[in-house]
């Protein structure tokens, strides 16, 4: 069964954000939160929950992050020009990082440890 690509991408970016948060100073997020967390996919949404309390789950729409922003076609290049992305710090990456920071904080607040 092929994996759900955006679902797997969400998991990875969420965990990367969590790892960075745990490594940073003065954070409340602990490793036990990550050890306890799990995800599942249903109908274009990702559900996040703690294994210790699977009934308490929150969902995020997989269309929220901007994944796989192309640059190889004339149309893709026009879009990048239109959004003023070329030859500049990657605004897509930055926007995604902010998005996952908010998602992580939201998940931690709603799920607890």
């Amino acid at each position: 069964m092929p994996k759900k690509i955006k679902f797997e991408s969400f998991i990875y970016r969420f965990l990367m954000e969590a790892e960075q948060k745990i490594a940073s100073e003065n954070n409340k997020l602990s490793e036990s939160f990550i050890n306890n967390i799990d995800f599942y996919y249903d109908n274009k949404k990702v559900y996040v929950f703690l294994k210790s309390n699977p009934d308490n789950k929150i969902s995020y729409d997989l269309s929220e992050p901007i994944f796989y922003f192309r640059g190889d076609t004339a149309k893709a290049q026009s879009l990048q020009i239109e959004k003023d992305l070329i030859n500049k710090a990657d605004a897509i990456k930055h926007e995604n990082a902010l998005k996952f920071r908010m998602i992580l904080e939201d998940a931690y607040k709603k799920l607890g440890e």
Partner: protein
């Protein structure tokens, strides 16, 4: 096969271990397969892809820096419609291009890539059993057959002289018993095989290329079979089979699957040679130490001053912050590049591979002939090592 620019950089790297020999450029994160052992297509999903104009600037910078080899990888590089232009951008500036593919390219795409200057290809092949390969590739029917069709096309269009073809084979619990067959198959058609052991990580330590699937980790009861597999392919190499991997690298595979410290970094204080000998580029053109890690700062390789930035303390320190705490990897090219530049025995092996006895290529080879060769090898009566997925039924390949 290499330009004079590439040869000069290779010589400098062999002498001083400080010349950018090899860059892995993840030109896209998009892929049409979801292979069990691969995570990079998800890890690099969050960035934009460079445009061709930016890639031409990267090629300018690489030529100025003397980068010898750029690996165009992904994702699936052929998913980019402008792949021929990308190949031409590097090759026309003297930077040797290697392409890595899952074998899903069309004949037209292959012809255009070769015409653009791509004469060095690596295709993923983990088994001669179609059902097993399809399962490893994420459950895509006929993906094994598609890979063989693509291999046939490359033998048709690649020039016999000055080209290089190899099979990238991931060693994991589901195909330990198939590795010898893959090496035999590659050798029969004059393709080298390069092994990479599966890399697995946990949720608390996400790493770019490493799968979270714990089921793909080797367990202690399988270690002896892996050892036997490694020793058998090592013997095969001595007999003349086309295995790319050095002895030092093969020894480290045994350590790696046991989670023991690996040794290929021992001549550099147990730190890898990024960015001195190699580094990676994300799809957005930013430098990263490798496929597993990023740095906090942004160092885009398309900026005019990238050749100076590459030498700067700021960049070196940023990369060292990451590499100094890394446990090490076995991603084929990075270890092999360090080994080739730092271990004399490996240098001699490499020269032996390419100078004294380049493989004779009886190309082209049709798809039907490849199927026959595969069946012949599969039907050889000899003891095979067990794989975890031996219960998978074989699909009739005739």
């Amino acid at each position: 096969m290499f330009s004079s620019l590439s040869k000069t950089t290779l010589a400098k790297a062999a002498l001083f271990q400080n010349a950018p020999v090899y860059v892995q450029f993840y030109i896209t994160a998009r892929c049409n397969l979801t292979c069990q052992q691969c995570n990079i297509i998800y890890a690099n999903s969050d960035v934009r892809e460079c445009t061709i104009d930016e890639i031409k600037k990267i090629a300018d910078n690489f030529a100025e820096m003397g980068v010898a080899i750029v690996l165009l990888t992904g994702g699936e590089p052929f998913a980019r419609k402008d792949l021929p232009e990308i190949i031409h951008a590097f090759e026309s500036r003297g930077v040797h291009v290697r392409m890595q593919t899952n074998g899903f390219a069309s004949e037209e795409q292959i012809v255009k890539a070769i015409e653009a200057g791509g004469k060095d290809i690596s295709i993923s092949l983990d088994s001669l059993k179609p059902a097993r390969q399809d399962s490893i590739n994420g459950g895509f029917d006929k993906s094994w057959h598609k890979a063989l069709k693509t291999m046939s096309l490359f033998t048709k269009y690649l020039p016999k002289n000055g080209s290089f073809a190899s099979l990238g084979c991931v060693l994991q619990p589901n195909n330990v018993g198939d590795i010898e067959d893959v090496v035999k198959f590659g050798s029969r058609i004059s393709w080298f095989t390069s092994l990479v052991p599966v890399h697995v990580s946990e949720y608390k330590h996400p790493r770019g290329f490493r799968t979270f699937d714990k089921n793909l980790s080797f367990v202690p009861s399988e270690y002896n079979d892996v050892d036997t597999c490694i020793e058998r392919v090592r013997s095969m190499k001595k007999e003349g089979y086309l295995l790319y991997d050095s002895d030092q690298y093969l020894d480290d595979i045994k350590r790696f699957i046991r989670k023991e410290p690996i040794e290929w970094r021992k001549f550099n204080s147990n730190v890898c040679d990024s960015p001195n000998l190699y580094f990676a580029l994300l799809p957005n053109g930013e430098l990263s130490p490798c496929c597993d890690f990023r740095v906090n700062e942004s160092f885009p390789a398309y900026e005019d001053n990238f050749p100076e930035v590459y030498k700067s303390k700021k960049l070196r320190n940023a990369v060292h912050e990451v590499t100094k705490s890394c446990d090490g990897c076995m991603y084929g090219s990075y270890p092999e590049m360090s080994i080739a530049m730092r271990f004399w025995a490996a240098k001699i092996q490499r020269i032996g591979n390419f100078v004294t006895k380049p493989p004779k290529k009886n190309w082209p080879i049709s798809y039907e002939e490849l199927i026959d060769i595969s069946n012949e090898i599969l039907n050889e009566k000899r003891e095979r090592l067990p794989s975890r997925s031996d219960d998978l039924k074989l699909i009739d390949v005739s």
